[in-house]
Assembly symmetry: C2
Homo-oligomer: 154 residues x 2
DNA sequence: ATATTCCCTATCAATTCGATAGGGAATATC
DNA sequence: GATATTCCCTATCGAATTGATAGGGAATAT
């Protein structure tokens, strides 16, 4: 699993938009988003373009232009962000988990890959931008993070 | 999440070793492992070298040489294989999940990353080579794979 | 001796990743 | 209607990663 800089930056910019929206602001420029979360502006512009094409944000050009969320923050999950900027949550040798197939002794492997993806979905599709802004994460996510060794390397 | 070809090949070769061991064979050559699972021999040799350095297999040179598991198949998990050939299970911009830190509105993100890693650990550290050879996967893994939409793309 | 097999280093092409450059198109404001 | 602002598009870049092969040296069983 590698959460890329692209995904990390996308989420942080969207969180800024979600928070700004609650405070009544209309839209934020790429410039101000980059400043607020300390992100490389040009790179962020490219990511925001992906988010717009993916329908997660809407943009407005011109003087008072900028970006705002295309959906309520309560309906935007981290899974949607990952898929929009980085593609499928999980792949095995470039294949989707459910498309893998093996001969002989490895025949049961696809079950594991599908289970792995399902476990990732439970986390990433269960957390919304609104959850993160308020800090009130779903119980099962909080539970995972509170397990005894969760914060230790292995 | 990307399960690389390296990891996929490593697991399949190790499964062959695990199965061969139950059938009483002593060791298998890189050549025969490559043939059995249809893997590129030279590439597999490089992966087996990593597995040996990582202490997951032991090797023997010479005529009747080859590789065998360094531990019982019941004690070898997929997580151990992934970490040996591809490094940490989960990383965020090259950082371990518990090492991430954010300012402002993104401050709660590390909880999500740690939860995500924990959920992956539950699957990958819970499945052993022996489980896969017999097809008897742990209940919670089987449960994840049996969820209604687990085999559907999203 | 010899055939076998692991082992080590180097190299490769293709792709991805993170990032920047430069300028065109829309738009609000004065 | 000129101007400043801001998004938008294409191209490019270096570095790293990925998947893989080549070639030959070192150990070992027969």
């Amino acid at each position: 699993m590698d959460i890329s800089a692209r995904t990390d930056y996308a989420i942080r910019a969207l969180l800024s938009l979600a928070a700004a929206h609650r405070s009544g602001s209309t839209s934020l420029s790429a410039e101000s988003l980059a400043r607020e979360q300390d992100l490389p502006r040009k790179f962020l512009e490219a990511i925001l373009a992906d988010l717009r094409r993916g329908g997660l944000v809407v943009s407005q050009r011109g003087s008072a232009g900028g970006y705002r969320l295309a959906l309520p923050a309560e309906e935007l999950t981290l899974g949607m962000v990952v898929r929009t900027v980085d593609g499928p949550l999980a792949e095995v040798r470039g294949l989707r988990p459910h498309q893998t197939a093996y001969e002989g002794v490895a025949q049961h492997l696809p079950v594991v890959w599908v289970a792995l993806r399902a476990s990732m979905r439970h986390v990433l599709d269960g957390v919304t931008l609104a959850d993160l802004v308020t800090g009130e994460l779903p119980d099962h996510v909080r539970g995972l993070a509170e397990e005894p060794d969760a914060w230790l390397p292995r």
